[in-house]
Subunit: 401 residues, 4 copies
């Protein structure tokens, strides 16, 4: 029988940070800041909700489909795809019933399939609004990839559709559900670093094929900011726990680079938060891969590098003359995210990252584009960010992470 | 749609080290030294062999069962367990047909189940021989956890049983199938570090519950050496590509520690290899977790730290004034190992780590125990290690890793 | 005899990066980008110029005075201090002739001391201009600590005084003379990282005693930007090799913090360079110590962390899946800086960091303060930065680092 | 005025570990385990003893001579050299009076030079005994480089000569005086790592010129073990605080390598200590530079890598899921060592590493050579190690590090 070297370490980990651990099942409900989900795979079957995956691109194939083996409350029961051959091969591989394969034409008939509880929209950004709204109107709950849509107006329509259908709408902000970023949030807000002063966040990579949808304004809604810079923006917001009040930005696109005819290459932005925290962020489709942030307080700093990739995250905490690398258990980000959604449906709870959270990011990103084009500091009205909606405001006020 | 930041990196990785990449499917056949398996999950269903898992302890539950979702050529179809409730819950969770659940009494009737091609023996060491032999006699191929058994004699019986049944027997030396250790072997033998001089290898952890089977001589066969020191011994052998000719050893067990009444706490050993390479190894059930090796050549060294845990492996290479961390794609060790076994059955090939490889380690470990007890250097006859078996010798002579 | 493990490493280092090494003496003349100074202390006495140190604070006592033991072309022969007891004790310790101790009243009489060739002004910023000009008027060459002065106007007077006295004026930009930052410049401009896209630079610490001169506007000229942010600004300029054309900034000071009554606590700024490089910089007197930069190109990035402290600098270079730490020989930054000044005097050469370089930083820092107060992007006229002086322009055009 | 970013960090460091800090001057008297010497250079002149340096090779030129600028209690006043030109150039450079330059013929006349209090013997190993004894007989105190001599018999003669002359004799075990190794000792013995179990220590480099004295048996006394392995042996002894009772060893020299005609290339050895701690050590003149140790306890481990080079030492401490890098102030090892010797002379105290400590290492190294040649475990009599000398025993019993 093979050794279980990790077990020992894991048990010690649980002892050391486990004060807040409740009897969470895999998937991590409740996702309160103090709860780090259990580390071991339960042998309990429990109730599992049925999921349909909309679009079978590389993210679905490489990350989402295999993640279901690690889920406690979620099972994959249907595909929506424009490529029937691929869908059938994957159905055979994962034991999905071939009768549960839909295409974009008959997608709405999913309403008649009682096996499907939740739809995961993994389409290009420009199709998020349509397929989310059609899914909600089909009576299903929807998890939609980030960015939520191309514009605040699209976001608002999606939120309205969820309310009208009385269904849950969650945005797939994966990092909010995995242990490292959750622990970073806990540390940043715990006072361990002293009073927070500055947040640095950088995200980008050197994008390839000029013909891909990410470089098409209609399909992507924008460039690196929408796709990647959103991670830096999220980090600044969830680490500080605040909404920005002012920002400015510089952008640059290499002339004659065929990739950046429609969308920006690089965009840097600065944010001011009410408590005085300042954030400095960069994002680029033109630089070597970075996925990095550092939150600096009066007494120490915490660094994640890489911060937001699917695996291999690393955390360093610096105080005085000590630099600590803190290792957390390896977890599947997608399994945690999907089980959170399932749990919210089962328990009729609001997701940690509802549609309103996606709308907030879209509003700020629009202001960043404005600042980059005008050279003026943009002043953000809080009312604009939170949308004057009482339910949103109360949601914002209790926003735990 | 979520970003795919890893994809870019992964593609670059493939470009940079991909010279030796053939059209390997997931699971990594062929497991030649130069082939690093493909990184993406194929959407091809292909032929999958059926596996039965014998014993549903923590290794099975946390590692092996979820790993099947990443397999290309292996599917889980049966359980053998003494706990029917647990087996049924896990069967429900993973979609295993309840009629394919066996216990230790009716285990032999698995011969009548055509869905089962391969049996994975995950029992305590002292039960490896019996359940491997019964499995082989039931006409199934067997993958057996390490250490292969408690004694060379048990190993020989298992090898004989496989030959008599004309079935494959493979030992689950997981590290031989995952990318980091395979790349370490490639580098060590490539000359990149100059001529190899010294190998340092350390493995151990501070074991807990005194009543566990690992501390029971009858069930475990020995102490830390059998369970953990075997990783250090393997590393010395696979990094050098040689068999040791001399060794000496020191062992120590804390008096009155209730954990070490039957088996040793710590054992350190030195090995001499024919080329002049010397290895210095430690193993302990009493020290803080280490899983580490360093191979030092005339021109540089390579370090793995951790070296053999299930995830989070790290490789550093030092030459001159440069210390490189080289990152490889994250892969599931168990999926790779199991798919190698399936592939060997499909293609009727000898596994990279057959029963004879397990026997070699047992013979050396017996000599280590002897040296620790006598204070004399043990001289290892090559004939003893390879067993004078023509088939083994030829296997050893072509042993690529 | 003690081992010389370092020697081996150092020799290998010289072989590996030594293509550009000329027969440089300690102190590193010539300071061309490709020359990494020799690593060993010469046994040649050579000609040494005499130095007077103006002000015996902690920087002088802990760094500058001991550094002379590592100098090839510089010897310490005089002190200027307001504390005769301290000056006498230090003179006894370092073998400085007590008759060469001056105070701020009789400072000008240093003109009559032929042993003194060069004056090193280590006073608070607000006294730089006066003591530099008096030193130049006494016929001595002057090395002045950074920032050069409080305002561009003061800088201009210092430059004029040097021209009128026909003496050298150099600003103590220490990092331009030590191996790590010089190697970072070489790498950044070599194309090894691809085309440069973004520079991140952060410098600051949590300042203590509210009564210190650094927090006094009259003595310091400004807050963290002048003292610490100047390192980030320098890094952005010397890594890109360009002058910024646009900038914006946010600043913040904690209300009621007694330290920040006169000067700013934190200032973040963004720069745009002509080639399209964007820089994102932070500086603070209120956050935990950071001394860090990262230069990101299309193909890789280079990080220095810490980047600008006196010892223990570390460089990491990332490309593809490899993260390299590159170690360089440990050198005394102050010895290198002072020997460069001595060499420029001996050979009648312009220093790498003349007064005009200090003036450029002051002009940009004034624009950063302006942007922070107005919320508008500042457009920097190149003519303003370089001062319309033909000699400066030609200097800028050939500025190698 | 330049920033003082380090000051803040240094003060925090003092606060955090400063409990044991007495009013130590630079040089670190008293060298009790709990005292980490002050970090700043005092401005107090104090009494300085005069030192003569015997032999002006690379260690003297690159390390020892410049180190005097950092000494509080030691000044360089004389040279002994066979190269008068070199001695005169260095005398001019460092202000040594040319009349204080001796050669190996008139060395004994140093007895008539009242400026010289202490002699530092930096000759090849085979000359240590003669020049130490002549120095002691000339009435001077002697600091002798390691290894103390070629044989225990030579060591004993040196100890006897010191006793007869009533002068101090100290061996230059540099690492015992610098902050990192002293902190490692403190941590190892503090219980922070739990109960100590295993020590791993490795030291070596790939030696160059076959004609150098280190490869000459007559001048060096032995090969890598004497020169470099002694660091690993020291580490095992000072980290455990014990003397070994048993050992075994393997050695190897590449046939036909011209460097290893007289002395060994590689030697690995295992030690057993009375408390049950086991050490595994390697040493080589044939492998890429390593200077490394790890001390592993039941609850954590501490690693130094590099462990014993002149600068750039790094310490990592692992417990649970946290890996800490702990940074200490950069200090000059030679200045600390020399000031300790001066302090012992001034205060008439026994050095921390007297001649008897050197003798202990020689006795153990002889046993290592014996074990390597016989293949038998050597049993070390404690009486042999400590020499049955009451003064030594009492010294050993209070041996703090």
């Amino acid at each position: 029988m093979a050794r279980s070297e990790n077990e020992v370490t894991r048990r010690r980990f649980l002892r050391s940070i486990g004060q807040g651990i409740v009897a969470a099942n895999l998937g991590g409900l409740p996702v309160g800041e103090s709860a780090v989900p259990r580390l071991v795979v339960s042998d309990a079957p429990g109730k599992k909700l049925g999921w349909a995956i909309v679009a079978l691109g590389s993210l679905s194939i490489n990350q989402i489909l295999p993640a279901f083996a690690k889920c406690e409350k979620s099972k994959m029961v249907a595909f929506v795809s424009g490529h029937p051959d691929k869908a059938n091969r994957l159905a055979a591989r994962y034991g999905v019933n071939p009768k549960n394969i839909y295409n974009y034409q008959n997608y709405d008939s999913i309403r008649d399939n009682p096996e499907v509880d939740i739809i995961y929209v993994v389409l290009p950004n420009g199709m998020h609004a349509e397929y989310t709204i059609r899914g909600l109107q089909a009576g299903k709950h929807v998890l939609c990839e980030k960015p939520m849509a191309r514009t605040p107006a699209e976001c608002q329509k999606m939120i309205d559709a969820a309310r009208n259908a009385d269904r849950k709408l969650m945005i797939a902000y994966r990092c909010r559900y995995e242990p490292y970023n959750r622990e970073a949030i806990r540390i940043a807000r715990s006072g361990e670093l002293g009073k927070l002063k500055v947040i640095l966040a950088d995200n980008g990579f050197n994008i390839g094929d000029p013909s891909q949808w990410r470089l098409n304004k209609e399909l992507a809604g924008g460039g690196c900011l929408m796709d990647i810079g959103i991670y830096a923006l999220q980090a600044a917001r969830y680490l500080s726990g605040e909404e920005p009040t002012e920002l400015d930005a510089f952008s640059y696109s290499t002339p004659d680079d065929p990739r950046f005819k429609q969308v920006e290459e690089t965009i840097n932005f600065q944010l001011r938060f009410p408590s005085g925290v300042l954030a400095n962020c960069t994002s680029s489709y033109g630089y070597a891969g970075q996925s990095h942030y550092r939150v600096v307080g009066s007494d120490g700093w915490l660094e994640m590098d890489p911060a937001t990739v699917y695996d291999g995250l690393r955390m360093r905490v610096h105080r005085g003359n000590v630099f600590e690398e803190r290792q957390l258990p390896v977890r599947d980000h997608f399994a945690l995210e999907m089980d959170h959604m399932s749990e919210c449906v089962i328990a009729n709870k609001e997701p940690l990252t509802p549609g309103e959270e996606g709308l907030r990011d879209l509003r700020i990103m629009m202001a960043i584009y404005e600042a980059a084009s005008t050279g003026r500091t943009e002043v953000l009205a809080q009312s604009k960010l939170t949308g004057h909606l009482p339910t949103l405001l109360s949601n914002a006020s209790r926003r735990p992470s």
